[in-house]
Structures are given as C-alpha cells and as structure tokens.
C-alpha cells in the first residue's frame, strides 16, 4: 500500500499578505512546472480503481500496462496515473489484494490523456492472503522504514473489551507500548504520549479517547485504514517528535443503502450509509455507552462513565476527484456520586472539507481545511486532593499537497500547511489562586519530497521547512528538516532500509512526571524561553519474505532528543521557570514475524528498548521506558465461519519512584511571625531516586471467539471476548498516601453482536 500523507485543503487565502503571496506563487509555479506534460507520441493513462459492489475507491491497487514495465499504484483516493505511454494497443490490468483482476484493452493514438477506470469485484480470499500479500504489498511499495499499514480487518482481530479499538490495536506493533489497560494513550520508541501526531482524515486530534482513555472515539467500521509511522516519518508530517498515526475513513456505500449495528456490554453503535445521487455517498455512525444498563444489575458500583460519539461524512465523486465534508463529535462524562471524588468532562469535535482532483495533466491536488477542538474539565467537588482545572486546544488549519506524476515510478510530492493552534489552560494552584495560561501561535510549514528509483535502490528524499520557527527563533537546522529514506532490494525477497529525519514540536502536553498515570492532560505552547523540542531519528532495518507464508522484519532505531522540555529540578522560587530544556535518547531493536496459513495466523512482535532523559547532570528513565515488550497473537480458524483469537502481551515493568518515607512537613503559614515551633505540619511523602524502581512485569492473555452467520440479506457476527483470561493482577498504580495498590483490568468477559445489511 502506498502511503500518502493525508489529503488537505486547497488554500484559500484570507488576505493577501506579501510573504504569503510570494510563498503561494512560488509553490504554484513549482507545481505547474512539475506538471508539464511531455508533448510527443506518448500519452498518459489515468483513472480510478473502485470496488464494484459499493463504489469504494481502492487504495494501493496496482495498475500496469501489460507487456511493459510501466505501471502505477492508486493513491489514497483510488487515483492513478501512468505517464508517457507510447502509442499502441495495450491491455491495462488492475489488481488489488482481495479483488479479482480486471483487464481493459485500450488503443492509444494521439497525445490526449486516456481515462481508464476500473471496478474490481471482491472475491473470497483466505485471510492469510490478505495478511501476507497485503503486508508484502505495503512493505515493498513503501519507501519508509517504520510504517505499518493496518487494514480494518486487522483492527477487528485484536480482542478488546468493546467493539474494537484502533488505539488498543496498534499497541501490538513493535515499538509501541501502553502504560495501562485503562488508557489508550500509547508511547512510541521511548517517546512521550504527547509526541504522537494523530490525524483523523487530516484533522489533528488531541485527546481522542473515551472513558479516561479506555477506548478511542473512532468507530472501526468507518476506518478505511491506519498508517502508523513509529519513526523517521517522511516530509509532510510535522509538529511531533515521535510518531504519526494517520487514520483515514472510508466513503459511504455509493451503490445502495446499507448499515450495521453493534451491541456489547459497554456500548451500542449504529451505522447507516448509502448513495446520494450517482457516485455520491454518505455515511453516519454513532455510539453510546450502556454501562449503566448492561453492568448496573450485576455490579454494586457500576463505573460512573458515560460517553457518546457521532461521525458523519458526505462524499461527492467525479471521474478523477473527490469532494468530501465530514465531522465528528464526542463527549465523555465521568461523574461520581461521591462528593469526595472529582468529576471529569471531555469534549472533542472536528470538521473538515477536502478536495482532491487532477488540476493539471499530471498534477494531483489534495486540499483540506479543518477545525478541531478538544477540551477537558475537572471539577473537584469536595475533594481535598484534587484542584479544579480545564484545558482546551482548538486548531484551524489549511493543508494542501500535490503529487506530480512526471514519471511512472518517480514521483514528486510537495505542499504546505498553515495551522492556528490555540491553547487555554485554567487551573487553581494549591494556594487557591486561579491561573490562566493561553496562547495562539500560527504554524506554517512547507515540504517537498521525491520518490526516486535507481535499479535496486529506492529513495524518498524530502525536506520540511518550518517557516514559523525560521522567522521566530530557531537555528537553520531546526527550521529545515531533512527526511531521508533509502531502500535497497538485496534479493527478490530481502530488503534493507535506512532512514534519517529531524523533527520539532512546539505544543506539549502537561502531566505530572511523578504520576504513574495521568488522567488530566493539558496542552500548552512551549514557554518562550525554551527552544523548540527537537529529535533526530535514525533507523536501520532488514525485511524478508522468508516464504509464501512467513514474513519478518528487524529494525534498530536511535532517537536523539536534542531539546526536550523537562521539569526544572532546580526550581525553588515562583520566578524560576517550571520547565527547562533537557536532552534524551532512546534506542532499541524491534522484530516482527508473521505467519499466515489458511487455518492459522500468527503474529510475533518483540521490542528491546531503552529510553533516558537528562536535565542538567541528572539522567533518569521516563515512566514509559519499557525494556522488553512482547506481543503474540494467533488467529485460529477451526471452521470456516469461526475465528478463535488469542493475544498474549508481556512487558517488563515500567519505572516509578518509590516512597522513601514520610515526614510532617511544616509549611510556615505565618512565616513572618516565626511561630513554626507551634505548627504540627502535614504528612509529606519523600520519594526515592526518580524512577529508580520498576513495577512488576505485565502480562495478560485475551481471547475472542467469533462466529459469522448470514440470515438472508443480513450478515452478522457474534463474539465472546475475554480480557485477562487468567486474571493476572497487573499493577495499575498505588496510592502514595494510603499505600493501596490498584490493579488493572481483571478477568472481564464480554459479548458482542454485530449485524450488517
């Protein structure tokens, strides 16, 4: 599968600022120069590849000119171009994993571009074919070292308590860990959770989680695919130090009205989709929690959690382009009846409009205008230990990216993005002083990259220019960020890969470094006195298709944090900065082995990693530093319509700071009266060396048994899921004040039923 950075809007300038005008003119000139066709007895073949049953555009379908070396791969909108095909008579062949091949005969006479659209018919395939062939296709087409393209089928496979979760699913990938069962936040290659860029159809999303982070807000059924970059991501992705998760949604069924529903112990979900005129479609999906109804009769204190999410998308298709409007809303409420326990409220919303089309003979444009907002509020009620706080981040952005098909195999990509992230953080200090920290800092990036093939060597050469940094405060190397990847085909089924990239980040999440888990995360712009956070990624890897049923990957990575915001350990006065610029590094080895046969799929991912942070002369491991991480997943198909999935996860313990003891600390409320000797003080826990100890190892076995059935025109799936089959007591956290140890999810059975029509 070819990964294209998400589609984004054609820029609509609000005003004609001089600098912007020049930049726009420069980009436009470059685009059109690259798009100029060669006028000779050659022509371009172009078109879209779709699914014959529902009109879905197919990504990463291969289109080739039979009998020649010419060909192309469809982009995120199912569009392809095969440039410079000489005059003659040809068979054009389109193929895609899971679909029947289709061949169309064409005769090329003049130099006018020829449009050839395909509608591929799905075919029954073995899952193993999708697993191995699909991933092989992805691995060979990607010029990237650390990308995993995940299909909806794979998302469904990982057992989760609800109806499947994209964030829980990605944690089976090497290099990705989660610190808690009840948190969907993930940590990539020793990076913090705020260093992950989450794009949902091009919208930047900040807290896309339900119920303290137990589930994501995205319906698996609307997801077309997920591209997970665990490092060294290409130009076009920016603003985060560690990883990119790009989630793309599918279009609605353009052929007929269809829908689906899912019911499980945690939530119920419905989906409706259908055509809106020829080739146009809509899709609407909604989910509502049902904790109270499903668990209420069985539990003394059902979780005080409720949530909802709604997603809608409308798509208008043209022969080579797409126009889509989409939006989502989600909300969570955690409201306890206990007045001593704080209430939390989360709200997310996002809206986007995208336009994709061929705007010149060989120039394809993706443009998106988007707005997203995420907010969290904490009401302590009568709690003595929690303070009121609220935080929000709103971001309006315009992104435009072009692809230039000047040659069959070598493509140019380029684009720009302007965003206006606005952060608000209101909180009360322990002195009951209300504070507000807010900011709005426009960000403006340009990028260009080239995919080049030279025999066995393929390269992705790109550079990202952060103009906001360039104009404000950064040295050149932070502003101009090279992104380079090279892939060398050692043999037919062996590939060596290497990548290097520089990344910066200005918006950071605030959490308590000493907490085992943080429930409240606020976003702020880096304080002025701090340098932008900066990381350098280096990755080396080896990939092999060992046999027709076995594929393997081995990668090593080194991530150097040249600048990262860390707590100022020397702070004693209010005027001292809260954060200082520190450094850090993470490195490790990842391995992935996949086996797929008609009756069994096996997946093994192991990561050996280290991460450290340094402030001043003090170096410590961050709380998400995990030395060993092992994921085993097996999908067994004893019968044609029954799947048994087992997932076993093992992780060595995370670091934490031990309690070193307590003492009654005097706070000198009347310091000038100097009557401290009459004060009784408050118990204060002193900590041992920062993150100097480790939690016990984590391991858990999850299982699911699903049965597929059909009742006339209705297809259904019934499943039983068991989380933590052998009821392992994995430590979640411990209360420093009471010493109570809280475990993560215990044995938790769940059942689900899904119906589709």
């Amino acid at each position: 599968m070819r990964v294209f950075p998400p589609c984004h809007p054609f820029p609509r300038r609000k005003r004609s600022g001089c600098r912007w005008s020049r930049t726009f003119a420069l980009v436009s000139a470059l685009c059109f120069a690259l798009a100029l066709p060669v006028r000779s007895q050659e022509t371009d073949i172009r078109g879209v590849v779709g699914d014959s049953t529902n009109g879905q555009r197919l990504v990463a379908a291969t289109v080739s000119v039979h009998g020649t070396s010419k060909g192309g791969v469809t982009n995120a909108n199912g569009f392809y171009v095969i440039p410079k095909v000489p005059a003659g008579s040809y068979d054009i062949v389109a193929s895609c994993v899971g679909y029947e091949r289709q061949q169309i005969h064409v005769i090329i006479k003049g130099d006018a571009a020829l449009t050839v659209n395909f509608r591929l018919a799905p075919r029954d395939v073995e899952v193993s074919e999708v697993v191995i062939q699909g991933n092989r296709s992805s691995d060979t087409s990607h010029i990237a070292t650390s990308v995993y393209s995940i299909l909806p089928r794979e998302l469904q496979r990982v057992p989760t308590p609800g109806s499947g979760d994209v964030f829980r699913s990605v944690t089976i990938l090497p290099g990705i860990v989660s610190t808690a069962d009840v948190s969907s936040k993930f940590y990539v290659r020793g990076g913090a959770s705020d260093q992950n860029l989450i794009l949902f159809d091009g919208m930047r999303i900040y807290n896309p989680y339900h119920a303290f982070g137990i589930f994501s807000v995205f319906d698996n059924e609307i997801i077309r695919g997920v591209d997970m970059y665990t490092g060294a991501f290409p130009a076009g992705y920016w603003g985060r130090l560690s990883s990119v998760m790009s989630i793309s949604t599918r279009n609605g069924n353009a052929s007929r009205l269809s829908g689906g529903a899912n019911l499980n112990f945690i939530s119920s979900r419905v989906r409706l989709e259908g055509p809106m005129g020829q080739d146009n479609s809509f899709i609407v999906s909604g989910q509502k929690s049902i904790f109270g109804q499903s668990l209420g009769p069985f539990l003394k204190d059902p979780p005080p959690v409720s949530f909802y999410d709604i997603y809608a998308k409308g798509t208008i298709s043209s022969p080579t382009g797409l126009l889509s409007l989409r939006g989502f809303l989600s909300g969570d409420d955690v409201r306890s009846n206990n007045l001593q326990e704080a209430d939390h409220v989360w709200r997310n919303q996002g809206f986007a409009a995208s336009f994709s089309n061929l705007i010149a003979d060989r120039l394809y444009l993706d443009a998106t205008a988007s707005f997203s907002r995420s907010e969290i509020r904490r009401d302590p009620k009568l709690s003595n230990t929690v303070l009121p706080a609220s935080s929000s981040i709103s971001e309006f952005g315009v992104r435009s990216e072009f692809t230039s098909y000047t040659e069959s195999q070598n493509l140019w990509y380029g684009g720009f993005e302007v965003t206006f992230p606005q952060t608000e953080y209101d909180f009360s200090t322990r002195g009951a002083v209300e504070q507000n920290v807010s900011s709005i800092h426009p960000e403006f990036c340009l990028w260009i990259r080239r995919e080049q093939r030279l025999g066995r060597l393929r390269a992705d050469l790109g550079v990202q220019a952060d103009l906001a940094l360039m104009f404000e405060k950064a040295p050149t190397f932070q502003s101009l960020q090279p992104r380079i990847t090279a892939v060398f085909d050692i043999a037919d089924h062996w590939r060596a890969k290497a990548s290097f990239g520089i990344y910066t980040q200005n918006n950071i999440g605030i959490t308590n470094e000493d907490d085992v888990i943080s429930l409240f995360e606020a976003w702020i712009y880096l304080p002025d006195r701090l340098r932008p956070e900066e990381a350098h990624h280096s990755v080396f890897g080896l990939e092999a298709d060992i046999s027709s049923v076995v594929a393997a990957k081995l990668q090593s990575y080194y991530k150097s944090y040249r600048s990262i915001a860390l707590y100022n350990r020397e702070k004693v006065f209010a005027s001292d900065p809260d954060y200082v610029t520190g450094t850090g590094e993470s490195y490790g080895i990842e391995s992935l082995v996949r086996f797929a046969s008609p009756t069994v799929d096996l997946y093994l991912a192991y990561t050996l990693g280290w991460a450290t942070l340094t402030t001043g002369a003090f170096t410590y491991p961050p709380r998400y530093d995990r030395r060993h991480s092992l994921n085993l997943m097996g999908v067994f198909r004893p019968l044609g319509n029954v799947d048994l999935t087992l997932r076993w996860e093992f992780g060595s313990g995370y670091p934490f700071s031990q309690n070193a003891g307590r003492y009654d600390r005097l706070t000198f409320p009347m310091i000038v009266q100097n009557n401290f000797y009459q004060q009784t003080g408050e118990p204060y826990s002193t900590l041992g060396p920062k993150n100097g100890a480790r939690l016990p190892a984590y391991h858990r076995l999850d299982a699911s048994l699903t049965y597929r059935f059909s009742l006339e025109s209705v297809r259904g799936t019934a499943g039983i899921y068991i989380i933590n089959v052998y009821n392992r007591k994995n430590v979640f956290y411990f209360d420093r004040k009471t010493g109570q140890i809280i475990d993560m999810l215990s044995f938790f059975p769940s059942a689900t039923i899904s119906l589709e029509f």
């Binding site: 954060y579 096996l602 031990q658 309690n659 100097n674 009557n675 391991h699």
Partner: protein
C-alpha cells in the same frame, strides 16, 4: 516450522510465563529513618526555637499531623558560632490555632542567643541512633528602608501614598515591609499599648459586603510593587489606608482615650534557604506554576527540614499623641 505453528504459540507463552513473572510491587524503598530539623534564627530576642523529630515509614496508616509532637528524645541540638556553643533544651509548646485542635508539641529552645550580622552559625543535630545532621548559614546583615515622604506622616490628609524603598543585605532572598501604628488606649483606667497594621490595598467589594484588606506578604528579592520606587525593592502604602487606621482607632477609643505613639516601618529579611523552603512547601507561592508535582527542599545535610535566618530592621517615627487628620 509450518507443521504446527499453534504449538509454537503455546510454547512461547508458557516459557515467558515461567521465566519469572512473579515479581511483586515494592512501593516503598527500604525505609531509612531520618532526622527532621527546623531552626530559624531571628534577631527578635535572645530566645531561639527549634524542632527535631524523625521521618516515619510510608506503609500502614498515616500517623498524621499528631506525630509531629513526638520529639526525637535522644537527639542533641547545638548551634555553634565560633567558640560559642548554644545547647538547645526540650520544651513543650501549645500548637497554634492554625493547626486545629490544641496539642502539646515537643520543641527545643535556647536562651541567650542573639544572632549577629555576617557571622557564621553551624547547626549540629546528633543522635546516637540516627547519626548527625548538619547545616550552616551566615546571619543576615541589616537592611535599610527609606520612607520617601516621612514628614507627611504628621499630616495624614495631605498625602496620597507612602513609598517605602528598601536596601537588602546581600544574603536576603525575600523580604516584607510592614507599616504599623503604635498607640496607647485607656481601657479599665489603664493606658494599654497596642498596634494596628496599615494595609496595602483592599479587595474589590462584592455586592454590599466590603472587600477584605490586603496586607503585605513576603516578596522575592527584586520584586517591585510600584514604579515610583525607581528600580529599588519596596512597597507603597496608600494614604487612605493610613488615614483609615487612624480613623478606626479614634472611632474605637474616642479622641480622649487614645494617644498615638509611633509609626513603625519594619523590614523583615529572609535568607535563601528559608525562602526556598517556604516557596517550595507552598507550591511556589500560588504563582502561575504549571508544575503538578510536589517538590521538596532542604538545606539539612543528612536530614530534612530547614535551617534558616530572618532579620527585622525597623524605622520608627514618633507621632503626635493627638494627631489630627
């Protein structure tokens, strides 16, 4: 490999499982009892107080604030200045009103110790069971304050503000300037001395309720409260606040039962360790900190707590007994 991959799966799970996943959580590091020492030298008299007790393990029930009264009986606390050794003794004091219910607190006291400016003082707490904790400081040099229009104190109605500039000693990390009016009031046939502090400002009133007065608080060195101080530290007292205090006294006692005595401007300086401890223990003073952790500070070697210094310097102006305003 392909013969029975399921077996591999089972073997892999079992083998890693058996390798050793029976670790248990150790929330607490091995507990090492430590001395907790608080001592603040002041020049307000020749009696100095101190507190010595110990830390306690985290596990089990929280002993709570009451544990503070359990003094470390076998600890010997001395402060040395040159060849002079000041030996603190045990005493019991009643807890202050802020600490809730009154309890007796075991404290330490020494008489005859008035710290001298710029001299080093070494604190040593030795315990046969817990070893020795140490700290040292150099006592603060005098600070100086200047009331810009002191003569206006005798004509309260003629002035809008009293800027008070300060010159701090080099070792002062924070300071506070207070302005008090000393008086004598005839109550029960006797002239009783009293003093009333002049506020800096007043909170905005809410509804019909008047806003509370705002009094000076500890400020970090270099923190200015008014541009009129021309770059020097200090504060500005409003003329209305001074007149308000005078009016309040006259309304309370009447004109004939009240004698004004002095207007006293007091500069209190706090040294670095004491201010650092105070700031840290009070979440950096309620400033706009983004920190969510609870850091600690101590200058006690091999112990916890703080050994600090505080110094008062005052400028006293005699007021007319029947000051008119």
């Amino acid at each position: 490999m392909t013969k029975d991959p399921s077996l591999w799966f089972a073997i892999a799970i079992l083998s890693v499982h058996l390798i050793g996943c029976d670790q248990t959580l150790q929330p607490d590091a091995p507990f090492e009892k430590r001395l907790v020492v608080y001592a603040i030298l002041t020049n307000r008299g020749d009696t100095q107080f101190a507190r010595v007790y110990t830390s306690y393990p985290s596990e089990g029930d929280t002993p709570g604030a009451d544990s503070a009264r359990y003094g470390m009986l076998d600890a010997n606390l001395t402060i040395r200045q040159g060849s002079n050794v000041y030996q603190f003794r045990d005493t019991l004091v009643l807890s202050d009103s802020i600490s809730g219910r009154a309890v007796w607190i075991r404290s330490r006291v020494v008489h005859g110790l008035t710290p001298s400016e710029r001299l080093p003082y070494d604190l040593v707490v030795s315990s046969p069971s817990l070893g020795t904790a140490r700290s040292s400081l150099v006592y603060l040099a005098p600070g100086r304050l200047t009331v810009a229009n002191a003569e206006s104190l005798f004509l309260p109605s003629a002035v809008d503000r009293f800027p008070v500039a300060v010159n701090l000693s080099a070792d002062a990390a924070a300071y506070i300037v207070r302005f008090t009016v000393e008086y004598e009031a005839l109550t029960g046939g006797l002239w009783q001395p009293g003093r009333l502090e002049v506020p800096l400002d007043r909170e905005t009133s809410v509804g019909t309720a008047p806003g509370n007065y705002i009094y000076p608080s500890l400020m970090a060195r270099g923190q200015l409260s008014d541009v009129a101080l021309e770059g020097r530290g200090g504060v500005v007292f409003p003329g209305w606040a001074y007149r308000g205090v005078l009016s309040q006294l006259r309304n309370t006692y009447g004109g004939t039962n009240l004698r004004f005595r002095n207007a006293v401007f007091t500069l209190t300086q706090v040294n670095f360790p004491l201010y650092a401890y105070y700031s840290t223990a009070n979440a950096f003073f309620g400033a706009a900190t983004l920190r969510l952790d609870e850091p600690d500070y101590s200058n006690i070697q091999w112990g916890l707590g703080v050994f600090g210094a505080m110094r008062d310097d005052a400028d006293t102006l005699r007021l007319p007994e029947n000051l008119s305003f």
